[in-house]
Structures are given as structure tokens and as C-alpha cells.
């Protein structure tokens, strides 16, 4: 295998590992929060403190390597507090308890937002960050964590800041809160579908002008769903309707239309 091919293959594998990491991240933070709640309810038992120490150590070690330096920093701070308490054979002070609660909240927020570029596993993925993309934010709305991760990673490599939402309801909330430069949304999602979310976004003066790209696996009798496409691009004013599996170059082409407007 030639070196160039090997490098591309390695990058693909790294992206898959990073997507895998991101999929498990919130689960780890959930476990950390559960262990912490157990301490708040029942007191600082050595076993419970060791649980939190173990999980925070795990997050501290892996966060920065997978593009989440904020995760590493906050998890290290929790780890240090627990280490001290375990070493002193004492319970966690009220002051430190407040710190831990705040740090766990911060962990969750960082996990939902995007990793920074400087320590991303795919920092040197071969894509050249585009100067015109700097400072631009894209909101990706998809209930599939793999799709969210893959789109995030690919777009970050071009210098875009990417935020995520799990479903239409959260997508609308984040659009309102963050006012992204572009929204990329799935159609079929639990609760509020993509089209209902887009309709809501269009009805709100604050978000009505945000460009929207739809990506969906939805077919009609095995063929492209032209009726759905018309609903999105006609009635809801979506910029583009892309079919999954996503061809990334097609998505990038549509994004360039937004940036050049």
C-alpha cells in the first residue's frame, strides 16, 4: 500500500475511533453524575469516591486525545479532589462538593459542544481550514450519534465550529440560543421531525433566515422522495436536500453556497 493511501486509511480509522469515543462520552458523564448523586444522597463512602475517581481519571486521560481538552481539564480537577479526599481518608468538603457539581455540569456542556481544534485527533486530517469558515457555526441535528460525530469531525477539519442537537426540539432550542450560520438536519427523528423543526424555525423572526440543509435516508417506494424534497426546499425554504448515505463533497458544495452568500 502506498504511503498516501495508508495515511488516508489511518485518518479514516482515527475518525471512526473518535466517533466511537464521542458516542460513549455522554454515557460516561451519566455514570459520573450517578456516582456523584449517590455520594450527595448517602455520603462519601470510599467505594463511591473510588468510582468517581476512576471515571474522572478515564475522562481526564482520554478527553484531550480525542479532541476534548475541556473534558480533560474538568475531569482532572474532579480527579484531584477525589484523590485528596481518598488520601486523607476523609469525606469531601462542602466547598469541594460544590466544585465537583459545577465541574460535572461543565463536562456535560463541553460534551454537547464541539471540541477545539488544537488537540483534535484529526487536526491534520489533510483538509485545509478555510479562512472564510473561521468563526462560522454549523448546527447539526440528527438522532444518530454516528452521523452527528462524522459530520462534526469532517466540518471541523475545515475550520467550522460545529454544535449538535439530538432531535428537533433540541435543534430548535439551540438554533434560538446560538443563532448558527447554517443548520444541517435529519428528517426522521423522534418527537419533532426535521420538517416540523424547520417550519418552527421559519416562523420565528430570530431564526427565520438561517440557511438549512436537509440530509435524509427517507425514500418513497425506494426512490428519491421528491414530495418531501419540495416540502423542504419549497414550503420551508431549505437550501438543499441531500440523500443519505451522505456524499461529503456534496455537503461541502452546499456549505460553500452559504458562506459565499
Amino acid at each position: 500500500m502506498q504511503y498516501d493511501q495508508m495515511t488516508q486509511d489511518v485518518k479514516q480509522q482515527m475518525m471512526a475511533l473518535q466517533a466511537n469515543y464521542e458516542n460513549g462520552l455522554l454515557g460516561k458523564i451519566d455514570s459520573l453524575e450517578e456516582a456523584w448523586c449517590a455520594i450527595l444522597l448517602s455520603g462519601s463512602t470510599p467505594e463511591a469516591m473510588r468510582d468517581i475517581h476512576r471515571i474522572s481519571h478515564s475522562l481526564a486521560g482520554s478527553g484531550k486525545m480525542f479532541g476534548y481538552p475541556g473534558i480533560s481539564t474538568s475531569a482532572q480537577a474532579i480527579e484531584r479532589i477525589l484523590e485528596q479526599a481518598l488520601a486523607d481518608n476523609s469525606s469531601i468538603s462542602d466547598t469541594d462538593a460544590k466544585k465537583v457539581s459545577n465541574l460535572i455540569q461543565h463536562l456535560r456542556q463541553v460534551a454537547l459542544d464541539e471540541p477545539t481544534h488544537d488537540v483534535s485527533v484529526v487536526e491534520n486530517s489533510g483538509a485545509d481550514p478555510d479562512a472564510s469558515y473561521q468563526g462560522r457555526t454549523v448546527l447539526v441535528v440528527d438522532d444518530d450519534p454516528n452521523m452527528r460525530s462524522l459530520v462534526k469531525i469532517r466540518l471541523q477539519a475545515f475550520g467550522l465550529k460545529v454544535i449538535s442537537a439530538f432531535d428537533g426540539e433540541e435543534g430548535y432550542a439551540r438554533a434560538l440560543a446560538e443563532n448558527p450560520d447554517l443548520i444541517i438536519t435529519d428528517h426522521v427523528m423522534p418527537g419533532t421531525t426535521g420538517i416540523d423543526m424547520v417550519a418552527k424555525i421559519r416562523r420565528n423572526q430570530l431564526t427565520q433566515d438561517i440557511p438549512i440543509i436537509v440530509m435524509t435516508a427517507q425514500k418513497f417506494d425506494g426512490e428519491r422522495n421528491y414530495a418531501l424534497e419540495r416540502d423542504y426546499t419549497g414550503r420551508c425554504g431549505a437550501l438543499a436536500y441531500l440523500e443519505k448515505p451522505l456524499v461529503f463533497e456534496d455537503l461541502l458544495q452546499q456549505i460553500k453556497r452559504v458562506i459565499s452568500l
Binding site: 489511518v10 486525545m65 488537540v119 487536526e123
Partner: protein
């Protein structure tokens, strides 16, 4: 001491273990066996006879130093060079690990892009010193 070909890596964190194996195999071209625990590493070291051990320090039940001590009991790995991986960078911790016989230390988080070169450089330095 010849070329570095076979590495036994012991790391309890799934994500880091998978990433390390992928990097060392794909970029370094090494033959890598990975174990998620010290206990699993003992048997694997016997069968695999690695040229180099890379051990995470902080692991549940059997930490890196305990794993090294157990692996050293196997004739195949009685003298196999070891590199420890640790998140603790304090001088006393590094010295402690070197005193246990490590040829070098890799601090976590490590840069995935340069890990393979780091390992090779540490191996080369070790070979030059022998």
C-alpha cells in the same frame, strides 16, 4: 537488541487501547497485542514474547508496576524492556517508574500523530545504551 517488531500494550481504557493499537500498527508497522488488564497480559506475554512492553500505570486491580512484576516471572519476558504510560508527570513519579526498570515514560495524553515515532526513538536510545 535488534529491530522493534512486537509490542505488548496493556491499557484498561478501551478508547485509548484501540487508538494506540491502530496507530502503532498502521503508522509504526509493529505487530501489536493489546490487553485490557494486567491479568490478561501475563498469559499473552508468555505466548506472544514481545520485544517491548507498554504498560499503563493506573489500572484497576493490577496496576502497571504490579503487571510488570508478574510478567517478569515469565521466562519469555524476564528481561523485556518496558515503557510506562502515565498521566502523572511529577518528577518523583517519573523517577519511581524508572526505578522499577522502565526504559522510558510516555505521558498521557499523548499525541496520536507522533506516538509511533516516540516509541521508536525510545527503543533506539535503549538499544544504543545497551
Amino acid at each position: 537488541m535488534g529491530a522493534l517488531k512486537k509490542i505488548l500494550h496493556v491499557e484498561d481504557e478501551d478508547d485509548i487501547r484501540l487508538l494506540t493499537k491502530m496507530i502503532l500498527e498502521s503508522i509504526g508497522g509493529y505487530d501489536v497485542e493489546s490487553c485490557a488488564s494486567g491479568q490478561a497480559a501475563i498469559e499473552t506475554s508468555r505466548k506472544f514474547s514481545p520485544d517491548l512492553l507498554i504498560l499503563d500505570v493506573m489500572m484497576p486491580e493490577m496496576d502497571g508496576p504490579m503487571t510488570l512484576e508478574a510478567i517478569r516471572q515469565t521466562p519469555e519476558c524476564a528481561a523485556t524492556p518496558v515503557i510506562f504510560m502515565t498521566a502523572k508527570t511529577q518528577d518523583e513519579e517519573v523517577q519511581r517508574l524508572l526505578n522499577l526498570g522502565a526504559i522510558d515514560i510516555i505521558t498521557k495524553p499523548f499525541d496520536p500523530q507522533t506516538l509511533s515515532n516516540q516509541i521508536q526513538a525510545k527503543w533506539n536510545r535503549f538499544c544504543d545504551a545497551v
